[in-house]
Symmetry: C2
Subunit: 337 residues, 2 copies
Amino acid sequence: MAKFETLDAFRAILADLPGPNDRARQDAQDRNGQLTKPPGALGTLEDLAIWYASWSGTGRPKMESPQIIIFAGNHGVTASGVSAFPAEVTAQMVMNFQAGGAAINQLANAFGAKLDVHSLDLDNPTANFTESPAMSEAELLTALQTGWNAVDPDADVLVVGEMGIGNTTSAAALCTAIFGGNPDDWVGRGTGVDDDGLQRKLDAVSAGLALHKDALSDPLEVLRCLGGREIAAMAGAMVRARVESVPVLLDGFICTSAAAVLFGMTENALDHVTAGHLSAEGAHRAALDKMSKTPLLSLGLRLGEGSGGAAALGVLKAAVACHSGMATFAEAGVSDA
Amino acid sequence: MAKFETLDAFRAILADLPGPNDRARQDAQDRNGQLTKPPGALGTLEDLAIWYASWSGTGRPKMESPQIIIFAGNHGVTASGVSAFPAEVTAQMVMNFQAGGAAINQLANAFGAKLDVHSLDLDNPTANFTESPAMSEAELLTALQTGWNAVDPDADVLVVGEMGIGNTTSAAALCTAIFGGNPDDWVGRGTGVDDDGLQRKLDAVSAGLALHKDALSDPLEVLRCLGGREIAAMAGAMVRARVESVPVLLDGFICTSAAAVLFGMTENALDHVTAGHLSAEGAHRAALDKMSKTPLLSLGLRLGEGSGGAAALGVLKAAVACHSGMATFAEAGVSDA
């Protein structure tokens, strides 16, 4: 399904995104007020259920078929010594995903989610963004399209995650470009680099921003010059989800950097997106704050793979179960204060 | 099973509690270090899995049969106008639990937990603690025993919750007595009292503390004079869980006040207990802090019924699934940095 053959076509979709279902939201709010609990006593679970209902199109939704998609890509910037792990680990972890041995496999099973894994040209890393744009326009389009195509339109909620050695450096560069500030506001230790590695990450981001300074006013160009295939694919998937009215739970810092590109293009692009988990990667909270997103969980994960978003499926499951399963005061014969 | 016929027998159990299984904990730590993720990248989920393993008796535990128990009791202190809801709601909500219509029913279903409900003499509220001790020794013993007997020794994790109109007042009195400070450090709005109701709660706690001032140095006497049957039952259940090596997830403020009684008796009494959720009831964080417990979730719930603890079952499920299901670096052929 070739939904967009040019970047302008992708831009056009972003400029005309569908909104939530107002009737479903109202129905959900009405129902919430009648359930057998004091008003507001389920806290965030109430807001979450109403938000979910507004994208599900019904005031009493179910959560039966979550989809988790992991996109994997390799990054030329690893040549700049930005990761504690060798680039080969990207492909090794993809095999681990396929064999069912990774954290995300267990989380998908735990919450009844379908897990799909897409490798994006792992043998052909993006260019080192300190030397040239990470991707050509054609490469960016292919990555966006891969993400778009990967979404199951019948999923009732989507988690997108990633695997890509070096990609916290790319994500930090995207955040610096889109949100402003300095590289050291956005660069962190990723999977665990030492002080020297951290300095190499900072140097790489600074070099990339300097080299691509003419691109920084256009988030899609920022993505092309400083991003990665798996990050672009996550962005494409989040837009497809929006078009299909599938709500999305964000994972960690890298997933959030993909969301930031969309947010930079259109502020309302993330109305169908809730932050799943606050990563231990230092700048994640700042990135979420910039987009006014409050994470459901804060468990100190810093793994990627969609793991934080998948963990938040448990919270969403709880919220939807309460909202759609509870009795009303009238049904239960309970006094309504 | 009459495990204790006197309060001294209960005290004796508290004085000689079993510890965790050190071998299982070491096995779990060793396994955790070999899983296909950067060290520490699953954050709190790693610590949680290792703690759970240490009480489960195996380094690679499962979570297959959680038990949730709700204890319901009525409080004479409601005569002092401390709740926004009439006392009849306790029994009405018990019927709702039994019919499957409450939030806790949906959460139990969502996470595969067995739900048991025990009503403790609802037609015979505790005495108003502003006028006399809430319970006689015999009444306290019966409530402790009810909790003790309610625990399934084959459960692999336990959540205890409560229903009892007026019981945030009782919980605040317990916390003031055990942790110190003033009533206004511990009294909150519960299910939603107005300013006048809040003042009546403060007055009731102050009156109770003054009347029972000679009891305040003994946590079990504090429980008898200021507590309630459902609170005592939660305490009894938590001790039984310890004796059976069943780990426990705390619910909110009232459940935590039951734990506080045990903590006041023996500091290590809560080694098998993890805080599930930080309640929106104002003093909950302070109570957890006093016992050095960090909640897994903070979702703004203030419902009771075990709902916060049950929501945290989703986090525990995620932790155990990752810990026991993931491949090791060697199994997956992934480079270990």
